[in-house]
Amino acid sequence: MNRDAVEASFREHMPERKNLRVANLFRNVGGMSRQTYFADLEWEEGGQKRQQRYTVRMNHPGGLVVPVPLWWEYRCHKALYGTEIPVAQALWYEEDAPWEPGTSSYIREHIEGVSTPARLYSPEETALRAKIGYDFAEMLARVHMLDWKKAGFDQFMEVPKDDVDCAMHRQRHWKKNYEDNRLEPRPAVTELYAWLEENAPKKVERVSLVWGDVGVGNFIFHGDKIVALTDFEQSHLGDPLKDWASALWRGVGSLLPREELFRRYEEVSGIKVNEESVRYYTIFINTEYTTTCNFPLKNNYLPSKDKDATIASLTLSVPYVCPDRGLREMGY
């Protein structure tokens, strides 16, 4: 990460800021799909010294870890900013970032708050968990009620042909990705994909923007309020109930009882939560996460000369936890 190049890029995009410098640049811990750095900027304005933090998101130098190009996430932020869904404003995108040649990257505003679950999960924070859980259910409802056509999501996302296709266009997408990138035969994963094909929900209440990778760690809260949603790299158009499977996988059930989360969500969205669909998508999400976290083994860790142990660890964790959970959900 070339700090001078980061500073030069900020100067180029913010010419009105005098004597702009990057005072501090450091890597965020947590989240493996991309590298996230924070850049603390200082400049002068009207005789006053000003400072502000920005977020630098970029692919890992070794290659993609999550099998979705970075511009997808950038476009989601662009499309959502200004709607009632709170996201950080994406500022500019670099297909070949000057600070890490050969790697795509984008800059977005930094939103004050925390995304790590440490505080949220501490035993004495019961009231905070309940408040954030309530907030989360409302926020998810808003995502699902968004007018995605008006926001332009159909310009880069596939629109499902019918109700069954809501699950199946994603099943086909991830199955192909899995087959193209797997290095070893994994019969349990083959079985999960077969089960998903045979059991796709026939009725979907509404085609929505599906956040994709949802839950604790993928939103920012400040005080007792959710202030921004993050991690849209697995977003798509489809059945909104898929997001509940992901949210429960990622610990949202620890915030509030499941029924209360669903009740608040139904009140705000008018979308009825069908438990059978949530079960289907629980198996789906376990299969999808197996696929996404298997991807970097072939496309990042093995071919790269810079062997990052955290990526090796990732490819041994989720791709083995998830088939286990998926089979259990199937009753095995």
Partner: protein, 186 residues
């Protein structure tokens, strides 16, 4: 030769945690050290168990293939050409010499043999799904698929045990909140 590989790894993990980690200042470096510790734990478990699990896994798949290929050749599934081809493939996998006779099998050789069996099983799973769509006896297929899934449970348990050290999360969530029904019953 002592120390054995697992004993060496125990020393590496101890030194990493007690000597190197306390000297680290950046959160990212500490996080990477945590990954290294988990990966070393995996190498230790794999050294101890992987060979035995590969042999057991391949043997169980062999038993499954014998059951399935027999069923595919008998009524009511015998009319399904695709299943007949899968029965042949399973027989071929069973009769191929994956290991040289008389040689002590190394883990890479056992892995190669196991991968060949697993690939055949993947093809069988796909083939059974397609046969179900193409009108093969649902009742018979369901029974056979149940047997496959029971095997997959055992295989997944073995795989999980080898990879388990990476499963731990830095911050454990509190248990899921009790549902209204469960609370009412208390």
């Amino acid at each position: 030769m002592r120390p054995y590989p697992d004993e060496l790894i125990q020393g590496m993990r101890w030194s990493l945690q007690n000597v190197i980690v306390p000297e680290l200042t950046s959160d990212w470096a500490k996080s990477v050290a945590g990954s290294l510790n988990r990966l070393l734990a995996i190498v230790e478990v794999r050294w101890q168990k992987e060979a035995a699990y590969l042999i057991q896994d391949t043997q169980e798949m062999g038993e499954l293939f014998r059951t399935l290929s027999k069923a595919f050749r008998e009524a009511p599934l015998s009319g399904q050409a695709a299943l007949g081809a899968l029965a042949k493939e399973m027989q071929q996998t069973l009769t191929t010499a994956h290991r040289a006779e008389g040689e002590y099998p190394s883990v890479p050789v056992l892995t190669g043999e196991n991968a060949a069996y697993r690939q055949t099983l993947c093809n069988v799973i796909e083939g059974m799904k397609d046969a179900a769509k193409n009108g093969a006896s649902k009742e018979t297929l369901d029974g056979l698929r149940h047997q496959v899934r029971l095997f997959l449970r055992r295989q997944t348990d073995r795989d999980s045990e080898l990879a388990q050290a990476t499963f731990g999360r830095p911050v454990q969530p509190p248990p899921p909140q009790p549902t209204a029904r469960a609370t009412a019953g208390q």
